[in-house]
Symmetry: C2
Subunit: 456 residues, 2 copies
Amino acid sequence: MSEEKENIQFELTGALIEQVESLIEAKNDKALRLLLSEYHYADIAEILDELSLDDAMYVIKLLDSETTSDVLMELDEDNREKVLKNLSDKEIAEEVEELDTDDAADIIAELPEDRQQDVISQIEDEEHKAEIKELLAYDEDTAGGLMAKELVKVYETWTVAGCLRRIRGQAKEVTRVHSIYVVDKQEKLVGRLSLKDLIVAKSEQKIADIYISNVDFVYVDEDVEEVVKVMQKYDLEAIPVVGQDKTLLGRITIDDIVDVMKEEADKDYQLAAGITQDVDSDDNIIELTKARLPWLFLGLIGGVGAFMIMEGFQDAFKEYAVLFFFTPLIAAMAGNVGVQSSAIIVQGLANDDVKGSVNSRLLKEMLLATLNGTILAIFLFLFVWGYNGEINKALAISVSLVAVIIIAGLIGTFVPLFLDKRGIDPAIATGPFITTSNDILGILLYFWIAKMILGI
Amino acid sequence: MSEEKENIQFELTGALIEQVESLIEAKNDKALRLLLSEYHYADIAEILDELSLDDAMYVIKLLDSETTSDVLMELDEDNREKVLKNLSDKEIAEEVEELDTDDAADIIAELPEDRQQDVISQIEDEEHKAEIKELLAYDEDTAGGLMAKELVKVYETWTVAGCLRRIRGQAKEVTRVHSIYVVDKQEKLVGRLSLKDLIVAKSEQKIADIYISNVDFVYVDEDVEEVVKVMQKYDLEAIPVVGQDKTLLGRITIDDIVDVMKEEADKDYQLAAGITQDVDSDDNIIELTKARLPWLFLGLIGGVGAFMIMEGFQDAFKEYAVLFFFTPLIAAMAGNVGVQSSAIIVQGLANDDVKGSVNSRLLKEMLLATLNGTILAIFLFLFVWGYNGEINKALAISVSLVAVIIIAGLIGTFVPLFLDKRGIDPAIATGPFITTSNDILGILLYFWIAKMILGI
């Protein structure tokens, strides 16, 4: 994420919003329609996100449903919810008719459960209705939950000429033709073809003779994260989705994968920063509080723990007040080392490049932490010794620092590996969780080692 | 990032690596070629990443350059550097001939500067050579640095039939035909066509009559981040790149955008976790130390700062030791709040949804921090009061906490906004930077307010 610049194509200005608002107020439908026709639906959605609900509804009722269905998909989720609440079942069904099956199913899935059936029953196109129902049955975190039913399918027995003729029909309802999927008589996926292959081929050739049998595919119950990895690794722009018996069920396109990647990256970044729900900077204060307070509360409990540890060592260290002054340093180092090592493991797990055993990982982290810790401890030792001249205190503090850094590194490495083995998203292990537990443990360890070294 | 599962298509097993290694040792080229021919080049790259350099070189010299050039692009960057070092200029030039211009330019850009010219001069295809030279001249963070020269271009004066005939020629060297770009006589971009449009059209129609003039494009010097945003927002699979006079220069495809997104997300995640360079969990200890030590050192300096502040207040320590025991809590809360608010701003800036003035942002964060701070302070007050019975100390600590949280929130909001305005990547503001500065400032503020309240 870097500095913002002007958008190349479209800039959302206050003047544009005002222009739209005044056209709505004047009920100048013709001018409004003309103005908005210049913009992409994604831009219109950005405009609507800035309008009042009443004004947004006015625009939605004004524009044709082909445009508004696309606009609806691009609206901010909170705003979409409000707009859908203000549309009748019939009106939503009309929008849904215009959308590809994957988007249509997503819109319906966002509705309150009691409305879903009502909206579905208003869809007129029986095939579209059946396909949406099928998609709604899949778990949203699986390939089935992401795929669309729109695709171009040919039978291996067809000729190139027959194929082209039929594709002209099928392609009308498919926005973008990535690949043409080849199936056998049992509707099982056997290969693929590109449009390019088809126009390069001779028209009397059989599909069976020209298709590429080496086709990547995913099973319908495959985890979405896995689909993202496969499409990214093999640079795919679309991937067919099949049932357990290899029946062709649908396809997933790269634009949906891009959205999933963006969501995942945002979520992980927020988790690392101690934000629990998916919030935007424009959400209201209550929502932002709900997302932020839980981790802060954890930090509070950690701080109270640190207090109780320090209080426990209070009598032992009457003479050694200086030790207490280094607790924020110890806590910060324990926290930072823990976050660093957990972040590297979390990323490694996500990229499938954590190889070797848990033990070898821990050994490596121990070496790394010892190296980092020793370098840092030497600086700290020289500072404390030079600053207050007491070599035994300087030694106690520095040696403790090395120990704390090693333990913090080990915990930062072990916890995400452990969570991963137990099937829990290791990303929750970075950020406040590791910081807080390392704070407490670090301070405890620090006093304990200092006590030993100073012989108290 | 979530738990790892088996790859759908390919699993890199120890047994497979051993099989490859023993075939290399036995110099059984035929069996090795047969074995590897079953795998995708991205999978072969994963296998090579696990082999010794000698073994990897053996495989690279064995396979045909069409395969190895693709494998080379997918290798881990460190390994690719080693492999390139072991190839002659002529051999690299042969690999480069097989690659699309964007990948070819990337490979050459990775070479030491003194080798680049030597390799380029060995490229035989003059057109390919000129195109690669052109691409190397663009800044790698711009659209020009990301684009490829391979594209399918038609003139608006052509007919559909003539077009199809010529495309059959052009398309052979373009791996995937996303869009056909329409240019005028001056080579300026005027519109686009999909292959689908072309096969649906009548063969005697003129391109000028059927093309879509509403074509998204980016300028060649546009920032890569901006290209990512545009392609993501408009769900594009390819975008043409033009010069300032709209001359068509190249195109960027979505697979490159996916790679950029992944890199950016990884980099931001690492920055937030206090890791300064792009490292993998499999890098060696020296590289990992170089990436981790700088931020730890910053933490050390922050800790020393906290020590000096506390030492300044040490006269109060005799009677008010309890205040000192809460410094880790104060530092942790200041750090956590700062990281949360900076993360939300950094993400908001990246997604272009930070609207309104800096002042209104700061006001919102102040309200939010006051709300969070008050809730947390009430708990802390009740705990301290209940625990040691002294209401004035409990009050001093809790009131300070609210103040510290508000200031931490404001700093966390202000710093990334400030960096962004100055054209610096605000992502560096999250993580250790904010944590450390908030630690010190929080502790200072805490003692200062507590001192006032307690009248010390």
